[in-house]
């Protein structure tokens, strides 16, 4: 059963852990769900909200980095002034990058399509 002591019911006030896990019991969690770690949005993977994903077309890209500047979720990763990759763990699939790309180097593809292709590849193997 519960291991908290009746003498200290100031639950959660001592918890400053970065590692809030989804299996934590009510008396292990921080009081009122307060979060003590700055920049914690990174640990919340919003990528699974996505229904369409941006797909980069290397041949067309002119590395203007409009997409990098416009992405509201910092999900375009650039390196040495060049497009590097999408961060699919956080990209919500809003499509802004595809819209602003001056050379149509980004296609928005349905996640269902991506799944189907993955399945098909699996069958072949």
């Amino acid at each position: 059963m519960t291991q908290y002591g009746p003498l200290n019911r100031n639950l959660g006030s001592g918890t400053r852990t970065k590692a809030v896990r989804s299996d934590m019991k009510w008396h292990e969690l921080t009081r009122a769900g307060n979060i003590y770690e700055p920049g914690n949005a990174n640990s919340y993977e919003t990528g699974d909200w996505r229904s369409i994903r941006p797909v980069w077309n290397k041949e067309r890209c002119i590395n203007c980095l409009f997409c990098w500047r416009y992405c509201p979720d910092a999900s375009v990763i650039a390196k040495d002034g060049k497009f590097e990759a999408f961060d699919y763990k956080h990209c919500k699939g809003c499509g802004i990058c595809a819209k602003v790309c001056p050379v149509n180097a980004i296609d928005m593809v349905s996640e269902d399509e991506i799944e189907k292709v993955k399945e098909a590849n699996k069958d072949e193997n």
Partner: protein, 393 residues
């Protein structure tokens, strides 16, 4: 040092707030509470307190501003009544779930409609499930004393919850009463300096409060609030004992008046408890063993104390100054009946709805209740479980 003074309930509460000297008070006027913040704002204007007074545009904003201030580590207060509390409704839940120790007097008044400005408890009862501690006050003295204790209860690290201090609109808020006030220094020492463990805008210790909480955590945080309410029962008693040392007046979760040998008892909140006690005294001279139970704290609900106090009584009348429209009686009736169920000793429990919209509760009304209880005790028969007192029918 204690001084006897004559003050209205509103003046007494404003006086307590002055002595507490909170960091922030955000409020909006509403009858019959207006005087509290009006008097308090004059203390601010005269430099008698250090409080930042925020004159907001609504009660929704008043509680929101208090939440912001409290989240920033300030000792924050507001005050309201009736429609004002109704407009605050949404934000009161947030104050409770964010575990912010905001103290706010509520001068109980009927809810519209029909529009009315007089006393009943429908405003407070609307927020009984919001997660705030609810303390009720029989008279100006108790309202003053409860305000001072509320600060310590709210801020206790095991509790950290808002506290609503109730008193009856006009009956207590506007009637002149004799009470004993403490000196400023004693109150200052009693409430102490508020040292929050967490607060916003501390660059060394960053924190996010009021976070989005989905199906995977919300439930657990609600359970934490229940635990804080459980802890509050102990802390309220502890603070009450400590308060006795500076005032000579001790407070617990309930007041049991002549219940030790009582056959019949009335359970009632706020000012009507004074009326009921007077009637019980009168009846005792006639050989009727009458008693009164006044819950001082309604949330958390003092179930064990009430069960213990009423276990030997034969018939109980719960008097509710609020309607639930369940057609099965008032809010406190359901709680008290539930409390006595486990005793399995066939205590008869009946309900009287009284005083809605400021309808007077007269001595004769309470006498009638006790007479009904005596009848029930003698015959063992309850004809009507829920009755209306002082209603033309």
């Amino acid at each position: 040092m204690k001084t006897k003074v004559a003050l209205t309930g509103n003046e007494a509460v404003a006086q307590a707030m002055k002595q507490i000297n909170p960091d922030v008070v955000a409020a909006y006027p509403i009858t019959p509470q207006t005087e509290i913040v009006q008097i308090f704002s004059s203390f601010v204007a005269n430099g008698e307190v250090d409080t930042e007074f925020v004159a907001v545009e609504s009660e929704h904003s008043a509680m929101s501003a208090a939440i912001g201030a409290a989240a920033g580590g300030a000792r924050a207060m507001t005050a309201t009544s009736s429609q004002g509390l109704a407009l605050m409704f949404e934000v009161v839940y947030i104050a409770a779930s964010m575990r912010l120790p905001i103290v706010f007097p509520v001068v109980n008044r009927a809810l519209s409609g029909p529009i009315n400005i007089h006393c009943d408890h429908s405003d407070a009862m609307g927020l009984r499930d919001s997660g705030v501690i609810q303390i009720f006050s029989e008279n100006a003295q108790e309202a003053y004393d409860n305000m001072i204790q509320a600060v310590r209860i709210a801020e206790h690290p095991d509790v950290r919850l808002p506290v609503m201090v109730n008193m009856d609109g006009f009956i207590t808020s506007h009637a002149m009463d004799v009470l004993e006030v403490l000196d400023d220094e004693t109150v200052k020492n009693f409430v102490g300096t508020y040292v929050p463990d967490d607060y916003l805008l501390d660059a060394q210790n960053p924190i996010s409060m009021g976070n989005f909480d989905m199906y995977d955590f919300y439930f657990e945080h609600k359970r934490q609030q229940v635990e804080a309410m459980k802890a509050a029962k102990e802390i309220i008693k502890e603070v009450g004992r400590e308060f006795a040392k500076i005032s000579g007046r001790e407070y617990g979760l309930i007041e049991a008046y002549k219940l030790d040998d009582a056959d019949v008892a009335v359970v009632v909140l706020n000012s009507a408890a004074g009326t009921a006690k007077g009637v019980a005294d009168e009846l005792r001279t006639k050989g009727i063993k009458a008693g009164v139970l006044k819950p001082r704290v309604y949330r958390p609900f003092p179930q064990e104390e009430i069960r213990e106090a009423l276990k030997a009584v034969k018939a109980v009348a719960v008097m509710d100054r609020a309607e639930t429209f369940s057609t099965c009686g008032g809010p406190m009736f359901a709680d008290i009946r539930n409390t006595l169920y486990d005793l399995k000793n066939d205590i008869k429990v009946v309900n009287y709805i009284y005083g809605l919209g400021g309808r007077d509760l007269r001595l004769e009304h309470v006498q009638q209740v006790f007479e009904d209880l005596e009848n029930i005790r003698k015959t063992g028969r309850v004809d009507e479980t829920v009755k209306y007192l002082g209603l033309r029918e």
